[in-house]
């Protein structure tokens, strides 16, 4: 233990002994760390922004759907009922843990366009949902004409643009063709009791192709009865509980039963690839900086090696094994990297505090669902950043360390003073 303390003491003092070299290396580490922290923050802001926004839509805070393997095409549900429904294990877990959720039956349909007498461009998604429970959650939905009528089991709410396209108004009938549990394709007629408008974020309307989501909302009980689906069976469960303690368990159960589990921002990422892009951007920037870090610190370490030949030669002469020298040099690198990353964290936190009001990215704020960007430190980015920095520093020091272990003390004592 004393030996370790001694190595650490020596490492710290050697670090302090070469301030110029270490400031240069430290600046490189600082830039790398800030790039990693910043890109993690970008991703986190995007994730939370979109989770918040999509959490007010039909997607729920997160949801599980039985329509797995459809290439995650959220523009249109399967025209068929799935082979399996949401498993009891999942609903039991949610009930036992008092997680707020809603059952739905959702499937694709075509609507007969009475105005034109055809089916062209009338694909839509019919969702049987518990209107009483869910409509109050859909805060980005405005019923602009009519209303939800709980006394009418055949009542339907339809999307305004879809209603305009089909020239439907409140009180009209809409006939949808659905495939029931026996795979029979039958027309079902509902009465339009309300027309809703889907509110979108500040500049999301232009960016997000939400127009490809014509939805017809009908009462869950009525739809299950019409299709012959057993009571309480669901093809989709929307979880409205923002307490994230249960999300990983729900994800796990969904995976076990081959169901799709999706957070709002994951859907956004799939549609736009934004989060992937941010990860790529951050990673690319980080790799560029790390490459510069490797090259520059390799040079700095080589210079340092030549400066310290006599010191290392002395250690070897008085009985230090190569392992001892490696331990000392690695210890210096790890200690230095640790201190540099800690300073980077402090600086990043300082910058975050200075920008606590957030930054408006203008047009680009679509990345954050129209919200401002807050430069907070993402906790889970700290360890990977630290490990990356340490590994990079070690890689850049491999050759100088190897040379140090091969030093012949006799050669280093020929002249000059330590």
């Amino acid at each position: 233990m004393q030996w370790v303390q001694h190595i650490l003491k020596l490492s710290l003092r050697n670090i302090r002994r070469h301030p110029v070299k270490n400031v240069l290396t430290g600046v490189m580490i600082l830039l790398s760390s800030l790039a990693f922290f910043f890109s993690a923050s970008l991703s986190k802001n995007s994730e939370l922004g979109w989770r918040g926004f999509l959490g007010k839509t039909f997607l729920g805070h997160y949801h599980v759907t039985a329509y797995a393997g459809l290439d995650r095409d959220y523009s249109f549900s399967s025209y068929y009922l799935p082979d399996a429904y949401i498993p009891d294990e999942l609903t039991r877990y949610l009930d036992e843990n008092k997680v707020e959720y809603a059952r739905r039956v959702k499937l694709g349909a075509v609507v007969y366009n009475r105005d034109k007498g055809e089916f062209e461009n009338t694909l839509c998604t019919v969702i049987g949902m518990d209107m009483d429970a869910e409509l109050k959650k859909l805060t980005n939905m405005d019923i602009v004409q009519g209303k939800y009528d709980p006394s009418n089991p055949n009542g339907a709410l339809i999307w305004k643009e879809y209603a305009d396209f089909l020239k439907l108004k409140v009180g009209d009938e809409i006939t949808v063709f659905l495939r029931d549990v026996d795979n029979g394709n039958y027309p079902y007629t509902f009465t339009v009791t309300g027309i809703y408008f889907q509110k979108e974020g500040s500049n999301i309307q232009d960016k997000a192709y939400l127009r490809i989501f014509p939805l017809v909302l009908v009462p869950y009980r009525q739809l299950t009865t019409l299709l012959g689906v057993e009571p309480d069976r669901a093809t989709e469960i929307a979880i409205w509980d923002f307490d994230e303690r249960h999300s990983s368990a729900v994800r796990s159960i969904a995976k076990k039963h081959k169901m799709e589990f999706m957070y709002g921002e994951e859907i956004f990422a799939i549609i736009f690839g934004t989060v992937d892009f941010l990860h790529f951007l951050g990673g690319f920037l980080g790799v560029i900086i790390l490459t510069i870090l490797v090259v520059s610190t390799l040079n700095i370490n080589m210079i340092s090696f030549f400066e310290r030949q006599k010191e290392i030669g002395t250690i070897i002469a008085i009985g230090g094994r190569a392992r001892w020298v490696v331990t000392l040099l690695v210890s210096e690198l790890v200690t230095f990297s640790t201190v540099a990353v800690i300073i980077s964290i402090v600086i990043y936190l300082g910058l975050s505090a200075a920008m606590s009001m957030g930054v408006d990215f203008g047009e680009s704020s679509v990345l954050f669902a129209g919200n401002r960007f807050y430069m907070g430190l993402v906790g889970k980015s700290v360890l990977p950043t630290y490990v990356t920095i340490v590994v990079t520093m070690l890689v850049s020091a491999l050759y100088p360390i190897y040379l140090s272990t091969r030093i012949n003390p006799v050669d280093t004592f020929r002249e000059g003073e330590l």
Binding site: Q2, W3, H6, K9, L10, R13, N14, R16, R17, K310, E311, G313, T314, I315, I316, A317, I318, G319, G320, R321, A322, W324, N408, P409, V410, F413, E415, G416, E417, L418
Partner: protein, 223 residues
């Protein structure tokens, strides 16, 4: 204790071969205070480096405490140096970031000697006292004079209780008065600690303290 048998060492400098040692044989007994004399380039440093297991001869045998060290690997030689040999260098070679106490303590960590903190402190402080640096315990090397630095180096060489201390021109960077003080100190410690000292010099005036003198000329013993 130390026996060199027909030791030869040749260096290659470019296309030229330099015969640093041409078949040197000598014996050094426990407790000797041996001086190796000779002009620059006579092979003094090469001889001490070979005795100190820092360099290998091209031919011959080097026997230390009955072991022919020629056959030992790198790590075994390092262990032998850490446990049995102390070094005093011409340019002191102290660790610049460590103070006097820590520089003397340093070889104990290299040797990984199991010693209690109290015993270690006693040993180091006693050595510091013997080399007359009690007031400079916390000084760094760059705060000391040349003579003081060499005293620290002497204490560092002795701290692991080695059987042999090798000093390659320990007085070369010192003025004549300080040089005499240093050699007197080494001789005193040779008596008190019963440690074998082998030192090289080209200064005739400090050879009076030696119990035996070996003169080197062109890589061969002249006496």
């Amino acid at each position: 204790m130390i026996a060199l048998k027909n030791v030869k060492k040749t260096y290659t400098l470019g296309k030229t071969e330099v015969h640093a040692l041409r078949g040197v044989s000598l014996e050094i007994r426990k407790g000797d205070f041996v001086c190796v004399m000779g002009p620059s380039g006579s092979g003094k440093s090469t001889l001490l480096n070979i005795v100190g297991c820092l360099d290998r001869p091209n031919d011959g045998e080097v026997v230390i405490n009955g072991t022919n060290v020629i056959s030992l690997d790198r790590n075994s030689l390092a262990d032998l140096r850490a446990s049995a040999i102390g070094f005093i260098f011409q340019s002191f070679n102290l660790i610049p970031v460590l103070n006097v106490y820590e520089n003397i303590e340093f070889p104990l960590y290299i040797k990984k000697e199991k010693i209690s903190e109290a015993d270690k402190k006693d040993r180091i402080m006693r050595l510091i006292g013997e080399v007359g640096l009690t007031e400079y315990v916390n000084h760094k090397p760059d705060e000391l004079s040349g003579g003081q630095r060499q005293r620290v180096a002497i204490a560092r060489a002795l701290v692991t209780k080695p059987q042999i201390v090798l000093a390659d021109e320990p007085t070369a960077n010192l003025d004549s008065e300080t040089a005499r003080q240093i050699v007197r100190l080494m001789r005193q410690l040779n008596d008190e600690e019963q440690v074998t000292f082998v030192f090289s010099t080209h200064d005739q005036s400090i050879t009076e303290y030696a119990t035996s003198i070996h003169r080197l000329k062109d890589g061969a013993l002249a006496n």
